[in-house]
Amino acid sequence: MRVVLAEDSGLLREVLTGALVERGIEVAAAVGDAEQLLRFLDRGAEVDAVIIDVRMPPTFTDEGVRAALVIRQRWPRLGVLILSQYVEERYAAELLASGAHGVGYLLKDKVGDLAEFSDALARVASGGTALDPDVVGQLVVRSRRQGPLARLTPRERDVLSAMAEGRSNAGIAAKLVVGEGAVEKHVTSIFAKLDLNEADGQHRRVQAVLTFLRGDSA
């Protein structure tokens, strides 16, 4: 797996690069701002995913998110993993507006769990989703009151949250400490309640997650 890292803190850039390399992830480039990142991608670099810090020069506000939106438009097959200091659900929502395919939004303080972090990176690179549980949690609170999500049982919502984090059924089962069979039952029920057809196949998971994340606008 080849990735690009865009992070303005030189220290973190260096340490993170070291840690990723040690995990067998190739860091094609580590840049300090969004402009350098886009320039690098413009040169036709072959990478699987980009890791982007939200706050970068020159204004240190949402450069990373804006760069991510550009990347999703111009290189839709590229996985985008956003690192943020805070849970900023608005940023996550903007990012997910174009689909949950190959999108990740993680809190920076979770990066120390390198196994989890490289898993998330791998998921995003292969078109999956990786949302920080805290981000998901905030979106859940927003979406609890209205829309089709209101029809879900609390347990089903837990399952959907875990799905939004990007977990597989096995992963969800492990997180919620239930059997995989039970998870499958919940997932089927969720798809039914959200009117998602069987024909959509694996895509239904992404659809469910999107419905879930857009719950605030429903």
């Binding site: 803190s9 973190l12 340490v15 993170l16 070291g18 840690a19 706050r55 240190f60 120390g112 972090f117």
Partner: protein
């Protein structure tokens, strides 16, 4: 009827007479003060002296009303700030609305005094002349006709005397009261609003000081957030990544021991941890440390000085501890100034002196460095000045090129 039978208004009469005496004196003082303005080319002293005299006469004038109204009219005229030089004091006085009004007041008063004099003279002397003449007329008889009023027959003379006495009993007191009332009104209008002026000026000052304080606090918060985000937070994340790496290696039995091994990573992690601690300490410098609350300025500033690279001589002489807000302000100002010294004075020793009484605390930070500091250029100094304005404090800077630099911070504590 009761209104008419009030006792004779002696107080008002006295007040009027005093005013009549003062008015020409004021006019003379004003004229001389005016003449002294061009003299300021040579020296502003005569102007300042005369302006003070004029202000004293005005003070006396205002105080006249104490007798009658129980309080003087208006407020004493504000004096020019003593720390300005003579010419600036003169400009200050000339620009001050209360002082400008003194000029118009003096002129109006002179006219008023003339009218008052005329009115009082006529109303007081005319009845006396009538009565004296009548008395003379009666005692001397009506012949020869040369005697004043003597051409009247006794009935007419008696009638005239009756009218005069009525006038004297009721008309004169009414006139005196009326004149005194007009006097009071004019003085109140022209001198009394010094109070309003002063309040307006204060409100204006406070509004802008509050705006500056609010935006300074805002800037401060943004700066703090940025510093924390760029510094400590990134370091801690890096630290957690390093520890994550160590964890991975230990879990795998540290396959790469030696230089790049877990031990090196742990050392690096420890460095990052102590770097973070240093950074947080630097950040909290601008905030309120617990030692300030517990032990006061002396202890807190000594702690700051101990961390600085140059020797700092600290002398604190305060009769009692200032209130927390002012104490924090002084702490912040002196700490910032000392940090500046550490940054710019090339290791030159510095001294801090804080002293004061109940009304004003002064902190003087001096260093023997190369000088050349400028409030306009140093954001640090401007930041201090802005924060000081929030408590009506001021900052004075003397920093000639070549040094020494002496910065005085004044914080009033009313």
């Amino acid at each position: 009827m009761r209104r008419l039978l009030r006792p004779f208004p002696w107080a008002q009469l006295g007040l009027l007479c005093l005013g009549i005496v003062l008015a020409p004196l004021q006019a003379i003082a004003l004229a001389l003060t005016g003449l002294a303005v061009p003299l300021a080319v040579l020296s502003p002293r005569p102007f300042l002296f005369l302006a003070e005299g004029l202000a004293a006469l005005c003070a006396l004038d205002r105080t006249r009303f104490l007798v009658l109204h129980g309080r003087a009219v208006g407020q004493p005229l504000p004096g020019a700030p003593r720390d300005l030089d003579g010419r600036d004091q003169m400009a200050w006085l000339l620009a001050h609305p209360a002082h400008q009004r003194v000029a118009s007041y003096t002129i109006v008063r002179l006219g008023l005094a003339a009218i008052q004099t005329l009115a009082l003279t006529v109303t007081l002397t005319f009845p006396l002349v009538v009565l004296a003449s009548a008395a003379a007329g009666f005692s001397l008889g009506y012949e020869p006709r040369g005697v004043f009023l003597g051409f009247f027959d006794p009935v007419l003379a008696l009638l005239l005397v009756a009218v005069t006495v009525t006038l004297l009993l009721f008309g004169v007191p009414a006139l005196v009261r009326g004149l005194a009332w007009v006097d009071h009104r004019i003085t109140t209008t022209l001198l009394g609003s010094a109070e309003t002026d002063e309040l307006e000026r204060r409100v204006g000052e406070l509004v802008s000081a509050r705006e500056r304080t609010v935006s300074a606090a805002d800037d401060e918060r943004s700066r703090l957030e940025r510093d924390l985000h760029d510094g400590a937070q990134q370091r801690l994340i890096a630290l957690s990544v390093l520890l994550g790496q160590v964890e991975g290696r230990l879990a795998a039995g540290d396959p790469a021991p030696g230089d790049g091994g877990a031990l090196a990573l742990v050392r690096r992690a420890r460095d990052e941890a102590s770097g973070t601690i240093d950074e947080l300490r630097t950040l909290t410098r601008g905030l309120r440390p617990p030692i300030l609350e517990a032990r006061g300025l002396d202890a807190a500033l000594s702690a700051v000085a101990a961390r600085l690279p140059m020797p700092v001589d600290i002398r604190i002489d305060l009769p009692r501890r200032p209130d927390p807000a002012r104490e924090a302000m002084l702490y912040f100002a002196v700490t910032e100034l000392l940090t500046n010294v550490a940054k710019h004075a090339q290791g030159a020793p510095a001294s801090v002196e804080v002293y004061g009484d109940g009304a004003l605390i002064r902190a003087i930070v001096a260093d023997a460095g190369p000088g050349g500091a400028d409030v306009a250029r140093g954001t640090g100094l401007r930041g201090i000045a802005t924060r000081l304005a929030g408590v009506d404090g001021r900052l004075f800077l003397s920093s000639p090129v070549g040094g020494p630099t002496v910065i005085t911070v004044e914080v009033p504590c009313a």
